[in-house]
Symmetry: C2
Subunit: 667 residues, 2 copies
């Protein structure tokens, strides 16, 4: 496919280089002006002027309805539209119609597997939230059912999770003592759950889902890791049978409690039971990791541990030797808790505040899980719709004695590996939990607390993601600071502080990005008309008498002064260098604006000031390739006229070409 | 300068088009694959790996020491370095050495002019801050002296200003009643001034000056305009001689006060004096605006008004007719107020909070003025050094009975027009204020308050910048929202609310920018190898079977999901369109990454997910022109290997060329 019929005598061996044949003959030296004294056929395009209303509409659409959620409703009428609306709210109506026995086989196996995993976890996690064990089970009964109706993830497993339980427990304990005022504490927990649901549903309904994107992946990794360590350390209480233990969650207080009680507070029977089953659980995990076929081993290991240890305690009556046991779990399904929620009084704002925080963290976890599995199976997940589903599920949950439920990392992974097909696996799990609540809770009486501690430890260790942390270190050092900042914050202080650090560093990163954008000096890649960063391409050569600066960001009020001053500093540096080597001075400054996606009033001011400063130095300002938004604003502010329409070019090469003939005559 | 000796027979009249000669022969139609099946000689450059410490050092330097403040100290030793340090702290040591009589002539005229303007303004502004009139004069005596030693702006006129006075008055009044607890109020004012200075000096010292850039120009225009209207309305009290007046500053309360008192509370003598001198002042302003030569007319008009009206009241004894007068101004220069500052107790945190806010607003005003005049006379202004100077001046001020001083827009403009050469004009002004305090304050006894109100109104009207607002509307609609948001916030609620709105909208804009970056579909400009946004360049043609998307922002956690989903949505839209017109489907998706200046862990994840989704659709992902930071991270995260090194190209044209031969055989 030789497209060069008009070239008779190629002079180079690289004659097929497709860019700028006319430049083949110039040398690699930077001391020659690479002149293309040619008229350029393409001018910088000025997009058609948009109607203001249209512009605002487009912005709002791109911000809030980027995923075009109303698309399927277009060109539909009446009953069809009603069906579509119902299907949108309850996706089960859509996928339910194509549900079949093959899918059900997958779902029932997955459902049974996650049920066996969730029952012991629920009991254990309820303790993290300082609630009685049955509340964990309640939260695995109602919320999964609601989610199955409204959610669109096929793989997520809904229920209480370790981190949210710890967070809720810590925040609630700060307000009310869970021991002394158990009822107030529980009511505040439901209130928080209610507002967590309201927060989630509201964010989804008003399409503000993108707000959770402000918690960066790195910060989440650090936060989760820190929370896992904190949770695991707290389990030393149950695992070692310590009676007197700190209420604080930081590592110093916890280890202090552990060592202070070393001589008189530890219970050896508890330790034996706890450590042996912990070893068993970790071994089961190892097997599951070693061979994916045995994913079910770690999944049922907790239930087996519970059964074995309960039976063991029952026949040995080890509880009389100081081994602490669950003692009592309320039998029967969720009672109503509508009247327990505080809709007024001093606990309303407290519940609201805690609910917002717990709701956001719950969302972050659920959406991250949903997205991960959706991308693995390649189906679309509407984040905002998910939030409405999760929110509704928690609102209903708060009225049926549940506390904040969300998607669980570990159970969702098991669900996926067990071959779940749809959210029916959650229904199956919910049904098993229902049976448990109805019939077998009394059997948990002799379950030793040490087993629950062991189950929590083995579950949360998976949340410490070393590989992710290493990858983050490799890719982005600033991200890594956010990651360890959140981690140390949680471990050495508290979950709230860790969370605060994570959010603060995430924001600092964004602000830094917009305050100190990168700029680069461009040079010509020999033999082409391509101009690139001379730091990245050491072979690129500068053009004599011309300084080409690329600004790598929109020019906004937050960086306009910096950008202006940075460009002037490049000029000063360059001129000093040139002076040192007795070369002619800079006559043209080309600002390559391809990456400048937008400019605001402050940005225009900065350009005007730059232009003035350059005029005083006898340097001509030239712009290259402003985008559609920028060129419009350059015209509307009249800056295009100030520097001259003919000083705005389509490419850097065009701009350089326009400088060079003049240079040639002057130099 | 024909550089094309190797081309024998140009086939086009535009044969001098310098880009891609080899493409001249292909048509304008988009149905042809514009293949350049040539090896490309330049690969994407991978910059040399940087030492981590070096990298961090470079980032810190660019963030905090972007202006390279230590540059002059390099290669200097001993006493020379000491002199340089002293000159850095006290620039007067530097410019003072070349000071001469010519400069002094300019400075003395300018100094006398701004002194005549500042004396009546000081007395009036002190009332805005609910302080006795002498405190305004005090603040025009000490701070300008300190600034003259340490500041580097040559044109700024230092002293109390209207907006800061109003802000301080409002914030202080919220805490302490200025009438009932006058002493506490005054002490709190000094405390706030002290912390305003500390805030300013600290920001400068730690090189955090860029923080004030977060208040956008548009927000400042709106805030200033709103504050000006608020201040002017409040002056109706003095202008109309109303006795009972609201303490609130919002327009509704103020107008209510005015109309309620219409029948019995207005004093006609006051109104006659006030309105006639207001007319005189506005006429003087008009003359000054009409002819720049008469700039001194509006500058001395206030002093003339004061003298005339005082004399008038003195001989007619109008004060006995209900015309309110100043009554008493303390004679003598600033007493020490070191012991009046609250360094402990309940007022410490209040003073701190108010000081931080007032300090930031003062800074914003002073730096804006400094930058404006520096760019007009083309000298460099170090923002951080300025902040240290302004901060020191307010700290010293707080100990010598001054309240927050900063640069005044109106007086600086007069200073500039009167031909000031250096900060000596501030010293001259300060000296005149000193003489006033020492000898003539008793003469102000009969000055009617109505005159002060008229002076304030005529001064602040200049802060309402309609032209700027119109320009903002033209350039950036979002900026305009920030502008009117701040304006209405101040006018209808209070200065704090207006300020809060301004900051909130400014931040929202930054966050929106990083959450919803622009993306564009690129097409080929016929006859070139240039690819541009097809919306901006309707002539650009799409390449068959290839979709080229440009991402116009760094890909960070805050937008990574959006970017991924937006690209996929472009693909879906495009494929639907192609299907509708029975054209072959997309086989290649080129992501043009030139504007992607950085990418973080979340961004890499998003690319990985995009890659997976595309694989499922049988679309090949290709990257074009990643920058130095991005290419490094692509390698470190191993993503470059995942998609294949040979799928990363230097230019879009190269990338398209790589697709086309394959397309040609398959289509």
């Amino acid at each position: 496919m030789n497209m060069e019929p008009s070239i008779s005598a190629p002079v180079h061996s690289t004659d097929k280089v497709h860019e700028s044949k006319d430049m083949d003959t110039i040398s690699l030296s930077s001391s020659h002006c690479q002149a293309h004294d040619t008229p350029h056929i393409h001018k910088v395009g000025i997009p058609p002027k948009q109607n203001l209303l249209k512009e605002i509409k487009a912005t709002v659409k791109e911000t809030f309805f980027a995923d075009d959620p109303l698309r399927p409703f277009k060109d539909q009428t009446g009953s069809k539209r009603f069906i579509l609306v119902m299907q949108t709210i309850f996706p089960i109506l859509e996928w339910g119609r194509s549900y079949n026995i093959t899918k059900f086989r997958g779902d029932i196996i997955a459902g049974l597997t996650i049920a066996s995993l969730c029952i012991p976890q629920d009991i254990a996690y309820a303790k993290l939230a300082n609630l009685d064990p049955q509340y964990g089970l309640y939260s695995s009964f109602v919320p999964p059912l609601i989610y199955a109706l409204m959610g669109s993830s096929r793989d997520i497993a809904i229920g209480p999770v370790a981190v949210v339980s710890l967070l809720l427990g810590t925040l609630l304990q700060n307000e009310v003592d869970s021991k002394k005022e158990a009822e107030t504490y529980r009511r505040l927990a439901f209130t928080a759950t209610f507002f967590a649901g309201i927060t989630q549903a509201t964010l989804g309904f008003f399409r503000l889902g993108f707000l959770i994107d402000f918690l960066s992946h790195a910060a989440v990794v650090g936060f989760m890791g820190g929370a896992a360590i904190t949770i695991a350390l707290q389990q030393l209480k149950g695992l070692l049978g310590i009676q007197v233990f700190t209420k604080k969650t930081d590592i110093v207080s916890v280890l202090h409690s552990v060592f202070v009680s070393a001589h008189h507070g530890w219970n050896w029977q508890t330790i034996v039971i706890g450590l042996s089953f912990l070893a068993f659980l970790l071994f089961a995990k190892y097997i599951g990791k070693k061979n994916k076929k045995f994913f079910w081993v770690p999944a049922i290991a907790p239930l087996i541990s519970v059964i074995l240890s309960t039976f063991f305690v029952f026949i040995t009556r080890a509880d009389k030797q100081g081994v602490q046991i669950v003692k009592y779990i309320e039998k029967g399904i969720n009672p109503s808790s509508v009247k327990e929620i505080y809709f007024s009084g001093q606990y309303l704002p407290k519940g609201f505040k805690i609910g917002v925080v717990a709701g956001m963290i719950g969302l972050t976890e659920a959406i991250a899980i949903g997205r991960t599995f959706a991308s693995m199976k390649d189906y679309q997940l509407d984040g905002n719709k998910e939030m409405v589903a999760l929110g509704t599920m928690n609102i209903v949950g708060s009225m049926t004695s549940c506390y904040v439920a969300t998607g669980s990392f570990s159970r969702s992974a098991v669900n996926y590996m067990a071959g779940c097909q749809t959210a029916v696996s959650n229904i199956v799990m919910s049904f098993i939990v229902f049976l448990t609540l109805q019939f077998i809770t009394p059997l948990f009486k002799y379950t030793p607390n040490a087993i629950l501690a062991a189950i929590i430890i083995s579950a949360v260790l998976g949340l410490v993601d070393f590989e992710a942390a290493i990858l983050i270190w490799k890719i982005d050092k600033f991200d890594f600071i956010a990651c360890i900042g959140a981690f140390f914050g949680v471990v050495f202080s508290s979950v709230e502080i860790g969370l605060l650090i994570a959010v603060a560093i995430s924001f600092a990163k964004i602000l830094l990005q917009v305050t100190r954008p990168r700029t680069a000096i461009l040079g010509n890649l020999p033999g082409t008309t391509v101009y690139r960063n001379i730091q990245q391409y050491p072979g690129a050569t500068k053009v004599q008498g011309v300084l080409i600066v690329r600004v790598d960001s929109a020019i906004y009020f937050s960086n306009s002064n910096y950008v202006k001053e940075r460009i002037l500093r490049w000029l000063v540096d360059e001129e000093e260098e040139l002076k040192a080597s007795y070369q002619p001075k800079i006559q043209f400054l080309i600002v390559e604006m391809s990456p400048v996606t937008d400019i605001d009033t402050s940005g225009i001011h900065a350009l005007e000031e730059l232009h003035k400063s350059l005029q005083k130095r006898d340097v001509q300002l030239i712009l290259s390739n402003p985008g559609p938004v920028v060129i419009n604003k350059l015209h509307e502010s009249n800056f295009a006229n100030t520097i001259g329409e003919d000083k705005i070019f389509l490419t850097v090469a065009d701009a350089v070409a326009s400088c060079c003939p003049k240079l040639a005559t002057e130099v």
